[in-house]
């Protein structure tokens, strides 16, 4: 608690947890081990329940604790809201690949909104570039090039396919998580409890879309760029040793707002709404447009639909 550098390292919950266990084992029992390790981590965080098991009071404690922690780290007040799902809402996303020009404005907006590490760099959205002629029979994700660097986009003869978490209904990533740290919320958003993630990266191996990203090092976000409106399951700053991914901007969409990438798209290729509402734009495009999902043969049932506008 006294040493700020130590406090920063607390972010790596997985590491702290392992360290605790290692120390305990070496010290023949908790009595000898815990006092030595006590400086290195926060007991409340270590014994924190899984988000799904928390009572309302415990969630309030969590949001307060997170607000205090981030305020100390970034030197400005944080608004932490653990907003719950809305009744009769299941989110769906549509992306018009005949419109996308590959400008990566969505990637930029996502990084800003969701407090992604700038160095080392983590980007939840990848924009893949394909030769138009090669995608006539469908997108082979392996052919996509995320590293294109043109002066002007779109480049001649190229098409673009932005890809992030597909929020599958039968998500392989949540099925393999050994600690129950990732699950699908009632409104269809696949979320991660960043305090329960132990960094085993099974979910990354299971995800067929490469949507999950690992914090190999302590994330680095400039204090003047950090987004202070955060959700514990969404864009809160993560720590070293945890996996992170798109949450459909859970901090925005549960208040009725559009996700950040949706607002940033200069060509209006991104569509977002409630799949259960027959009048929503996402329902309209599912009814009236040619849509497809990526790797449909895996039967993961994504809620991210690509369409031809």
């Amino acid at each position: 608690m006294k040493n700020p550098e130590r406090d920063e390292q607390l972010d790596a919950k997985g590491a702290s947890r392992r360290k605790f266990l290692r120390t305990t084992a070496a010290g023949v029992g908790a009595a000898a081990g815990v006092p030595a390790a006590a400086e290195a981590f926060d007991f409340e965080t270590f014994f924190q329940k899984n988000f799904r098991s928390m009572s309302d009071e415990e969630i309030d404690e969590l949001t307060d604790r997170l607000a205090r922690k981030y305020e100390k780290k970034y030197g400005k007040p944080f608004d932490v809201q653990a907003t719950g799902p809305v009744d009769n809402v299941v989110f769906g996303y549509g992306l018009d690949i005949s419109r996308c020009i590959g400008c990566r404005r969505c990637v930029d907006a996502c990084v800003q909104e969701n407090n992604q590490s700038r160095d080392p760099e983590i980007q939840w959205i990848r924009v893949l570039e394909f030769e138009r002629e090669r995608v006539v029979r469908g997108f082979e994700l392996e052919d996509g090039n995320p590293y294109y660097d043109h002066e002007q986009a779109p480049a001649e003869g190229m098409v673009y396919l932005p890809i992030a978490c597909q929020h599958c209904e039968d998500s392989p990533c949540t099925n393999v998580c050994p600690t129950g740290a990732t699950w699908e919320e009632p409104d269809g958003i696949v979320v991660i409890d960043y305090d329960w993630c132990i960094g085993c990266r099974y979910c990354m191996a299971a995800c067929p879309y490469g949507a999950r990203h690992f914090n190999w090092a302590e994330p680095n976000i400039p204090a003047d760029e950090v987004n202070t409106n955060i959700h514990p399951l969404g864009n809160r700053p993560r720590g070293r040793g945890v996996v992170e991914k798109c949450s459909f901007c859970i901090q925005r969409v549960r208040d009725g707002r559009y996700p950040a990438c949706h607002e940033a798209c200069p060509v209006g290729a991104r569509k977002f709404g409630n799949l259960l509402d027959p009048n929503s734009e996402i329902s309209y495009l599912l009814k009236n447009k040619r849509t497809f999902v990526l790797k449909a043969e895996l039967n993961t049932r994504p809620k991210f639909f690509y369409f031809y506008g």
Binding site: S53, G84, P146, Q152, A153, P186, S280, Y284
Partner: protein, 210 residues
Amino acid sequence: MADDDPGEVGDQSQPGGLATWVVLGLAVVLVLGLLSLRCALGPDAARSYPSRTLPPEPLPVLLPPPEMNDEYMPCDDCHEGEPTNPTPRELEDDHEETVLAHGDLWCLRCHDTDQRDNLRLSNGTLVDFEDSWKLCTQCHGQRLEEWKAGVHGKRTGHWWGAKEYWTCVACHDPHSPVFKPIEPKPPPVRPSSITWKPRIEPEETDREEP
């Protein structure tokens, strides 16, 4: 690996074998400990969320076109009293730089011949520049349907709640409506060119770093 096989390790009556057993035992204790922790605190009792609804939606706002250039507006500053030449021709003078690449349309197909500060629908109705979408959708009817449904064009604000509908000219230049290429944001760093170096204390380097 042979060292991990309990049977073989057990046959060796060497101190190394004993150490392996101790390590294995500790590992089992660790795993059991983790499991019991998971059982104690795990998400078996899934959270039941309180019912929550959003307030009714207000009417959407039509986003007005971007500010027009004061130099050219209002049109009547120059055109008032000028005789009108309706013949399509090369644009000159102040309109020299206007690129007209919208099918084979000529100015007066949309702009009114006499009332230059208005647009004119094909049925003769005059409309303001702010309502230009009514003019565009005379030809682009399919787009109108999709725009009303929210599938063509852009919306900002709330998926449920106050939102702005971007009108045609908020995104498209009516004189040359096809989108022009723009400069993309920089590409992601390739794994092979990551420059990041570990900045952590030596005692913490118990895990693989890139």
